[in-house]
Symmetry: C2
Subunit: 208 residues, 2 copies
Amino acid sequence: MEPTKIELEIMAAAKQLFLEKGFAATSTTDIARKAGCNQALIHYYYRTKENLFEKIYLAEVNNTLSIISTILDEPIEGLSIEEIIDRLIDTYFLMLRDNPKVPFFLVQELIINSERRESMRQLFILNPLRQEAYEKYKRLVYHLHEMGKITDIDPFNLLISVISLVATTFLSLPLYADLLQRTLAEQETYLSERKQEIKCMLISRLRP
Amino acid sequence: MEPTKIELEIMAAAKQLFLEKGFAATSTTDIARKAGCNQALIHYYYRTKENLFEKIYLAEVNNTLSIISTILDEPIEGLSIEEIIDRLIDTYFLMLRDNPKVPFFLVQELIINSERRESMRQLFILNPLRQEAYEKYKRLVYHLHEMGKITDIDPFNLLISVISLVATTFLSLPLYADLLQRTLAEQETYLSERKQEIKCMLISRLRP
DNA sequence: GTACTGTTTAATAACTCTATTAAATATGCT
DNA sequence: AGCATATTTAATAGAGTTATTAAACAGTAC
């Protein structure tokens, strides 16, 4: 059951288009054209557009979760809170630099397609990887608090704040670039300034 | 050139559907059904779906900007920074409580439809209301800094952070509700906890 | 009442989209 | 090679989409 070469092409094309334009605005004809194959082939492999989408969505969820899990595995023993935040945010930014559209994509379809939410719930919330990563994260926060390195804060709320700040940076990047007509160099500056600001904000919030 | 009763119905229906499902997933037939009129009538009034969409989009942009403008007009003389943030964030939350889907809607279509970005640029960036509100906001930040009430911070970066934190709260609300299967009361708690956390974060960041 | 205007609808053209089917290739096996 | 299986394509059904057109309807002016 090895995926064939063209199957990978279809997946890659579909991923690109779904990330870019969303489910509704992407047609199987678009995907076929991008993948360089006949439109019927997509249905041969996946039967429905919905199936293909769910496969891509699940892959993105899992990929994101495992990267986050890796981030949380970084050794932090003996580091100051400034250094810890520095490392975590740097890694998070690196991860999103490669996949800037992923966070938006993940929520977009959930928000838009409320019928899809139940199946997404199973892919995401009930995902063992997610549960594992979240537990790991909570232990980290409690541990840091016990060691007196950070103030008392609800881990869930902190997580939402971090995701908000970092994901929105990448979400806003194309708007920043196009609407304000910024060059690539300026976009880089924007990213690093946002990173700095986010670290600064988190450190002042977390300082005991 | 008074808008007729049914024209208002069409606008209301279109707004609801576009906000809910986005441009691509909403058909003029859907809109007509919701507005209780014939599908051709929509084209009689707006000629194209695109036109109708742009009208709604512009209305939302202007509405948002004027509300923000109002928020920034609140008198703050003599208040502590804690009180100022308290008021601004409270008002911002109130505004979004009535229109929780607006921020997502505004960026969604910009992100998805890159061809539309140029026309949106003209509706948004070059909008005099926006320029006015932004200038007002910058003056506020500089003023507060000069008075020694807040630390030295780039107003643009601060703005992005505030928008990120607040808008994402409402963006995540339906996911929080559905994915974690939370009751209405729990959603209320979530909102007020987020509000508290955001204020806390901003205050610790802004303290001189 | 009739003529004139603006509003609304039914009908439909012209597409596009998803999905299926049957036929055509390609690939591997003996 | 010859056969079986898997892959790929062309053709197309069937539904849904936007947009237009011509006809029906409603309201007003004379």
